[in-house]
Symmetry: C2
Subunit: 880 residues, 2 copies
């Protein structure tokens, strides 16, 4: 089988993520480079897979290997698990190859029981510490391994705190802890009808199985679905000698980031608790101290920690998120990993690291994900919210959102389904809330810090989040939250700004994102590396200018139907278009077209000026004519003023009705049957180009014929363009080309290229015809079922289908170039802004992709990454 089930920390390295999981690999790596890591070993993901396929039981031979590794650990530590006088305690922690924060389980202080607790107390001379460990162990083991509800234990712990008058858990005296242990044991007995397991080896085996089982728990499965992580990866289990942050005031535990995790600023950042164990920080029960304070409290440990963190960052070439424990002033590293960060921080970090020499510019570009570029262009709330400010919490994930308040995940899901925008408000979130977090626009918590669950998930999802807003008094029973005298009820609208922590009543004004200099820098670097040009789809001068601002190098698709008044912008144009369509004679049609031409020409002039020096691809009229006709109700209104025209419209509507308009009378078919329409458009394009060129502006019009299926159609159109060019173009150069959006066009691309000077793949329609999917119908219909049942991995309208549609594109590119080696090739469907599809286009050495103006920055990055990937570089950005 070649399965490897175990590996000690001292023999592994960071490259073994797949086998050891992220946590295990990084523990091995830190061990390897000499950092203070408590000894231990990893039970591998191989073992987990074999466990799963053995029907959730340890495969034969694994347990003896574990006990043997344990013996080595005992030898190394000079202690034995379960030893009554000096027991070895271990942590048992999950760790998958892909980070799944909080999704799986951990047991600390394992190995302790009523006998060894005395030995530990004696050995450390600290009975309170020993009983605290036992109390913690029983509580955690009961929850994680025995599957009991945490709630009862929390109630008993709270009661113990109150009875002993302790301000926090660390102040609970030893006697109260002993009573608490007895209470816990009674609870376990009551609930499981068995005493709490005292045998340390039994505890260990049960804990390993529990971690393996946690790979398949509901929240982990949902998380993996959300982030498209394979179920077959499995988790590793790390068994490590315990070190103790709860050994009194000389000990502590904390998490740290090598840079500010929210802004990305190069500033050591972290939180810690004195006399605590790791879960205390994460749970957000006590509010931790800022890492800078540790420099005061424990200067030596702090200095060692800071230096270690810097070393780790340089070692990994990335900002690190670490966990540490200080036991009697001695620093131990318990975990390191690349830190999650919001998009804006990711950009800043990548740019800074390149400037600091930690990364090359290529590496910096590969460090950013397309999703981060997208998220970095986040909105925020207006500064002045008119006295509606409710409270301010910690800014945990940037962006602004508004929505109805909901207080639990189920309500979030239900209300979102019925069409509401919702904001999830919780004391804190847990992995159980995940479905609700997916449904919500943003999250607010009254507890927790910027490293709490809600914050991490929000940053991963790119959703706004405010945490630790303790001014909010949330009443989950009454379903209200109180801020001073103000009561917010479930269903009330609030807004939040995850970039500055504000929570506002009502639907506050949202400001569009500000341009980020880090983003601009990354994109400039990306531009150096990419070979694909990026154009935008824009139909008017405003969009064209915006596209150019975002770095578009031309227009890849200018849809002339919008100039025909489609979309309701220009009712006077629409009226002219309707007259044109209702015309009974060519002469009437020409008269209507004469009215439209100056309007189109005016638009083209504006677009050409906005794109001075850059190519502009203009698609002649594409949609079926019936799309321009008024509704039956509108015709009834027209009939009041002009019964003749209404009758003509009604008649025409009947004639133009089609069973399958997608496959009907549209595109070049219109230009063949009503040549005067295309003649008008071509004349307007060429005349506008001549006008702008006369001002000394470089104009590069590219006339694109849609829905071509046969060369004969292009011949007719080329002849039309040629003869109009003689009349209107006045020496302005232009290209004529075609969309490839029908399978047949791809298959006869060699013939089309005899005429076409460029190809532009209309992948929306090409996907519809190749799959036989009507997008309008499929996405609301069977396609959802297909995606849900995993018959398809991706919606082919979102991610270009390489096997089918991509194969046709390959055929077309190859055949087109065989006829005309220099043919200009691009893509203008929505896939033009989707990174996977952009990589495909790069692979075919297309000249450009064209996407919506907002997607241009994403496409610039994706194009660079495709080029760098082709040089063998891997993308290193966070996948979550």
């Amino acid at each position: 089988m070649g399965s490897q089930w175990l590996q000690g920390f001292e023999t592994g390295s960071a490259g073994q993520r797949g086998l050891l999981g992220g946590k295990g690999a990084n523990l091995a790596e830190m061990t390897r480079i000499g950092l203070p890591v408590p000894p231990g070993f990893t039970v591998t993901t191989d073992a987990c897979r074999d466990y799963q396929s053995a029907g959730r039981k340890l495969p034969d031979g694994l347990w003896p290997q574990i006990t043997q590794a344990l013996q080595q650990l005992e030898t190394q530590m000079g202690k034995r698990l379960g030893d009554d006088r000096d027991p070895l305690l271990v942590s048992v922690r999950s760790g998958a190859a892909v980070s799944m924060p909080g999704m799986m389980d951990t047991v600390l202080n394992l190995g302790l029981n009523r006998r060894s607790v005395a030995g530990l107390a004696e050995r450390t001379n600290d009975p309170r510490f020993a009983w605290d460990c036992l109390r913690r162990f029983i509580q955690m083991f009961s929850h994680v391994v025995l599957g009991l509800e945490m709630h009862a234990f929390e109630l008993m712990l709270g009661a113990a705190r109150r009875r002993s008058g302790a301000a926090n858990d660390a102040e609970i005296p030893v006697a109260a802890l002993q009573q608490l242990v007895a209470d816990y044991e009674a609870e376990v007995l009551a609930q499981t009808r068995a005493p709490f397991p005292e045998d340390p080896l039994h505890q260990l085996q049960a804990a390993v199985c529990a971690v393996f089982d946690s790979w398949a728990n509901d929240r982990a499965v949902i998380y993996r679905q959300l982030h498209q992580i394979s179920d077959s990866l499995g988790t590793a289990v790390n068994i490590q000698a315990m070190v103790f942050g709860n050994m009194g005031p000389t000990s502590g535990t904390g998490v740290a980031f090598t840079r500010d995790p929210v802004t990305g600023e190069n500033k050591f950042y972290g939180e810690y608790l004195i006399n605590a164990q790791g879960e205390d920080v994460v749970a957000g029960i006590r509010t931790p101290g800022k890492i800078a304070d540790l420099a005061v409290e424990m200067p030596a440990a702090y200095a060692q920690l800071a230096a270690t963190c810097q070393r780790l960052e340089r070692h990994y070439g990335d900002m690190q998120d670490i966990e540490f424990t200080i036991e009697n002033h001695k620093l131990y590293m318990l975990q390191c990993r690349s830190a999650k960060r919001p998009a804006s921080a990711a950009l800043r970090i990548a740019v800074d690291m390149a400037n600091e020499g930690i990364l090359t510019r290529e590496q910096a570009v590969m460090r950013i994900t397309p999703t981060e570029v997208e998220h970095s262009m986040h909105s925020r709330l207006a500064d002045d919210v008119g006295g509606q400010l409710l409270a301010t919490g910690q800014a945990a994930s940037p962006g602004a959102a508004s929505g109805r308040v909901v207080f639990d995940a189920e309500t979030a899901v239900a209300w979102e389904k019925r069409g509401d925008q919702v904001v999830l408000v919780r004391p804190e979130t847990t992995p159980d809330d995940l479905a609700g977090m997916i449904a919500a626009r943003g999250f607010v918590t009254s507890r927790g810090g910027t490293t709490c669950h809600a914050a991490i998930v929000a940053r991963g999802m790119g959703k706004p989040c405010v945490v630790g807003c303790d001014a909010l008094q949330i009443d989950l029973i009454a379903r209200t939250c109180q801020v001073g005298s103000i009561t917010v009820r479930e269903g009330d609208v609030i807004s939040l700004d995850g970039g500055d922590g504000r929570i506002v009543r009502g639907d506050a004004p949202v400001l569009a994102p500000e341009p980020s200099t880090a983003l601009a820098t990354i994109l400039l670097w990306a531009d150096e590396f990419r070979t694909l040009r990026v154009r935008a789809n824009a139909d008017n001068p405003v969009d064209a200018a915006k596209a150019r601002e975002n770095g578009a190098e031309g227009i890849g698709l200018c849809r002339t139907e919008h100039m025909f008044g489609q979309g309701g912008h220009h009712p006077e144009r629409m009226a002219a278009v309707q007259r044109m369509i209702a015309a009974e004679t060519t002469q009437d049609r020409l008269t209507a077209l004469d009215a439209l031409r100056p309007m189109q020409e005016h638009d083209f002039v504006g677009i050409f000026r906005a794109m001075a020096g850059l190519p502009v691809t203009i698609r002649l009229l594409d949609p079926p004519l019936h799309e321009f006709l008024p509704t039956d109700d509108q015709i009834a209104e027209i009939a009041v003023r002009n019964p003749g025209h209404a009758e003509a419209l009604r008649k025409r509507k009947g004639q133009l009705h089609e069973t399958n308009p997608m496959l009907g009378f549209r595109g070049v078919r219109l230009g063949i049957v009503y040549p005067e329409i295309y003649e008008m458009q071509i004349a307007a394009i060429l005349a506008a180009a001549a006008t702008v060129a006369a001002d000394g502006v470089t104009v590069l019009p590219e006339i694109m014929i849609p829905l071509v299926g046969d060369k004969s159609e292009l011949v007719v159109m080329r002849n039309m363009v040629t003869s109009l060019a003689a009349q209107y173009a006045d020496g302005v150069p232009y290209l004529i080309g075609t969309m490839i959006e029908l399978p047949r066009a791809a298959l006869v691309a060699n013939e089309l290229a005899e005429i076409a000077e460029f190809f532009s793949f209309g992948t929306n329609d090409l996907t519809q015809t190749t799959w036989g999917y009507s997008r309008d119908d499929a996405e609301g219909g069977f396609l959802g079922r297909y995606l849900g049942d995993k018959l398809l991995d991706h919606n082919p309208f979102v991610v270009l289908d390489r096997k089918g549609v991509g194969k046709l594109i390959e055929i077309a590119v190859e055949r087109g170039r065989a006829t005309r080696p220099q043919i200009k090739i691009g893509i203008c469907g929505e896939h033009g802004g989707e990174p996977n599809s952009i990589a495909f286009c790069h692979g075919l050495a297309m000249q450009y992709v064209s996407c919506s103006p907002n997607r241009v920055p994403v496409a610039r990055l994706a194009a660079a990454q495709a080029a760098l990937a082709a040089r063998g570089m891997a993308a290193t950005g966070s996948t979550v």
Copy 2:
């Protein structure tokens, strides 16, 4: 240029049709094999093309070549054109490569004038003959070359006959002929304001130009359009020494066929006139004698003629149509060509010739055209319908029918039930009309082309159909149709001939198809040569039996939707289907399906029995469910009885509405979303197979999954079939396969073949998606324009588009075989019955084609011809 302008008869051969035209090539061939052909030469089609491209004038250098060839002819004949004492006369006759009977012009007796007529009279000692020649020449030249109306000349000829008391032209005395010549000359002078041209060389040049010009006359252009003959072929001109059938009672002229041109019987057949020239026979002015009489009148000439004809038939290996002249007992051959013949005769001749050893069986099979097979199986209207012709539309499905006109399906059904024969007349038909179409004898539509719904259904049913007859103005309110001034009311009787498009008032005489043993023989021979199997598309036991009678070797497409009641056959099934569709829960759906299953199973049992021992491919439900729902009016009716069900139907109809149903929720998508529907169908198939197999009948069911685009769909279906097979199939072998009808299916055929044991190309849908043509919309819309403007050579729904759709088929075949070398491959679209497409399937070594039962004989022939063509044999049937 390589143009060759002239060639003498003595140097050419039959293989030079393209250059010499059919007449010239055959004159050369007859000369070559030593038959008595008057000497002459051919001005070639090269010369004609150069004449046309020079702007209708003789290209430089041609005339000197003609005069030089003329001098050689003069030397050979010992006479000179225009010689006053012994003039050479010539005929100037057109002759294109493709036979265009009567379309172009001929001038006889050229070279005569007022001076030479005396020499001819003296030389022949027959003044009457000489003046008859001059009279004929002036008349013919004036009409053909000078463009004068024939009418005035006919009037003068008739007057001369009456004045001289002659029974026919041959009896007009010489003086009267002399007066007639003078009258003719005066008429020419009056009409052309110029005297009749006397110069023989001038005459010759004008005649050559006139023949060339006749290539472009209106009737020739229309004829070529009708028969798809290229305008660029051009005609040749044959200049030949005259021989004279009008030299008194020892002379004559005639036409003959080597076999009976109507029945094909091997019997010498022909007609002749004594003392006449060729045009007299064709013109039908005198009633000619039967050729047998010639044996009595001129035994020697007859014997020579009969022997020559037999020799020609053997020489050409085909029945010949010849023209001859006897001049003073001496036989001259003036023309031979393969004779046109009706389909029944063509079959008889081919079989007879093979039995006589003139043809091999292979040659006999190549001699028959698919159209002849088709026509031979249908009745037709008599040619003479006594002035009752109403209009002519497009011939869409051959056969003749008469019946009372009805304007809707309900009336058709009702009247048929009460015993009337009805003809359904509609603007166009839809699936809603199916019940009416079943009831009617034939259909007429005013819209649509030969591939519209009515045409397809008609051919499937084998009923006569005429479509696109736009001369019919149908008024569905008044229940009349108007053709010009004639009004046809509902209930009036009309007749139609779907083989030629005629629509006739009243009950026109119908000629029954003669059951042809010759057809059976040809098809048996064809079966020996073909490698493609021929199956039929059939949905019920009756069609299956009919298909088998026609030679089908299995069913290639059994559409289960017809068993669901589509088409109105089974209202009780339709009701169950509607309950199934309207079901709100899976349980309700299962209950409705339980009602349908025994019905489907019963149908399958019948089909399996009918096709005992042969494979039956059954396609699971394909059409979108909304096609089964009632119309809004029908729902309103249902509401009266069952408001709840009506409401459910209405709601479901709204849910199932689609923008583009062709690309929507149909095919395997239904089977994925509602597995219980396919489960019911699969269970019914397998249970039926087991039932029939239990009787010892060999059953070969092939379960076909429609509209597959991805392997995952097939995996789901294969699993479904496998698990049902365990329950129902009871050891009966079966195959599972898929239709290839989406471009993506073709592109991923290698993956599909991992599951599919057979592929069947659904070329109707594959054509729709590859071209982006909605058939329902395109054929009544822009596609007509495309075909009219010659943007497309063929309607791709009729003739398989090899470049696009064919390319995808090639890809699919190659990829499918790469995965599964023995995969069974066939085609079941309508192209399966179209000869060009069948040849394509043969080229890809498919296992079978499947077509409508009526097309099976055509497909058998076409498959054999494809196989023989691949061996290098050419089809030799008549193209017209």
